[in-house]
């Protein structure tokens, strides 16, 4: 194993990413190698320095924009009706409207159909007699 490969494994050892056998090998190496022990200490220090820098916080404006957009998408979803549901709603409205109109016609124009039937019958009759005369 080259020196660089050992250091790569020391880095993985630092992260707890080696299996038991590899970790035991690195532990034994560290006991005998002052240079690698120093390297491990430097890794710890570098990790500490990076952690000290900390994480950036999500800007408030981004947070607010995301939550506003998510809320508006949710509202749009609630308003949205699939095509099949839209067709069913229109069909129901049309049936209700037709029944209502039929009911109104029956109440307010009870003799309309009889009168119309009489008118049509009369017209047909006069048409028949005039053609028979010829």
């Amino acid at each position: 194993m080259t020196h660089e490969e050992i250091r790569e494994n020391v880095s993985a050892f630092f992260d707890g990413e080696l299996d038991d056998r590899q970790a035991a090998e690195i532990r034994a190496h560290l006991e005998n190698c002052a240079e690698c022990r120093r390297y491990l200490e430097e890794l710890r220090a570098a990790s500490g320095a990076l952690k000290k820098e900390g994480r950036a916080k999500l800007p408030f404006a981004v947070r607010a924009a995301v939550l506003a957009e998510a809320a508006s998408e949710k509202a749009n979803k609630r308003r949205y009706m699939p095509a099949a549901s839209r067709f069913l709603a229109v069909a129901c409205c049309a049936i209700v409207l037709a029944l209502l109109m039929g009911l109104l016609a029956r109440i307010y124009l009870p003799t309309l159909f009889g009168q119309m039937q009489g008118l049509i019958g009369g017209a047909v009759g006069s048409l028949g007699s005039s053609s028979g005369g010829n």
Binding site: A56, V66, L67
Partner: protein
């Protein structure tokens, strides 16, 4: 999980990852916003095969890759890496001791210099490991790399960081 809970839990991590990947605050805000909205939309489909962080970070990386493609199509130029303090808008908390402030400032400058020397993916690997404490397997899943690649690239990134910081320790001011 509600959208607000998701933003509270993962918002900072997503923004940090976006910042490390694209290197500047303005684009990182756009990428973080898009990634968060995608995650919120996809929440009902999240099956819990991986941790919620791994899942949203993967969405963030995919959003960054799309951004990168769109940016290169429009001839977008590379931008310098923003330091973290600029992103948060807060000055570093260094106390009142002038000597300590100088040391902290130098350490911060060395960390920023090291990060700006790394590729976007190496920066992401280093911060996912050090700040989010992701395992190599999680980092590999997030970035779509092999675990062995994560191990060697993390080692390489640490070498760059260690090099910059050891320069400080030789000057006698580095004390992490």
């Amino acid at each position: 999980m509600t959208p607000e809970e998701l933003v509270n839990l993962c918002g900072d991590g997503i923004f940090n990852l976006a910042l490390r990947l694209c290197g500047n605050t303005s684009d990182a805000q756009d990428i973080a916003q898009e990634a968060l909205l995608k995650a919120i939309k996809g929440l009902p489909d999240f099956r819990g095969d991986s941790s919620i962080h791994t899942w949203v970070y993967r969405i963030t990386v995919n959003t960054w890759k799309n951004w990168l493609r769109a940016n290169s199509r429009h001839g977008g130029a590379a931008v310098p890496l923003d330091p973290v303090a600029d992103a948060s808008g807060l000055p570093p908390d260094t106390g009142c001791d002038v000597g300590k402030e100088l040391e902290a400032g130098e350490t911060k400058a060395a960390v920023d210099a090291a990060l700006s020397e790394m590729s976007p993916e190496d920066r992401a690997i280093l911060t996912l490991r050090e700040l989010d404490e992701c395992s190599y397997a999680e980092i590999a899943h997030i970035l779509g790399l092999a675990e062995g690649t994560v191990k060697s690239r993390l080692f390489r990134a640490r070498e760059v960081l260690r090099g910059k910081l050891s320069g400080l320790s030789k000057g006698g001011t580095y004390d992490a």
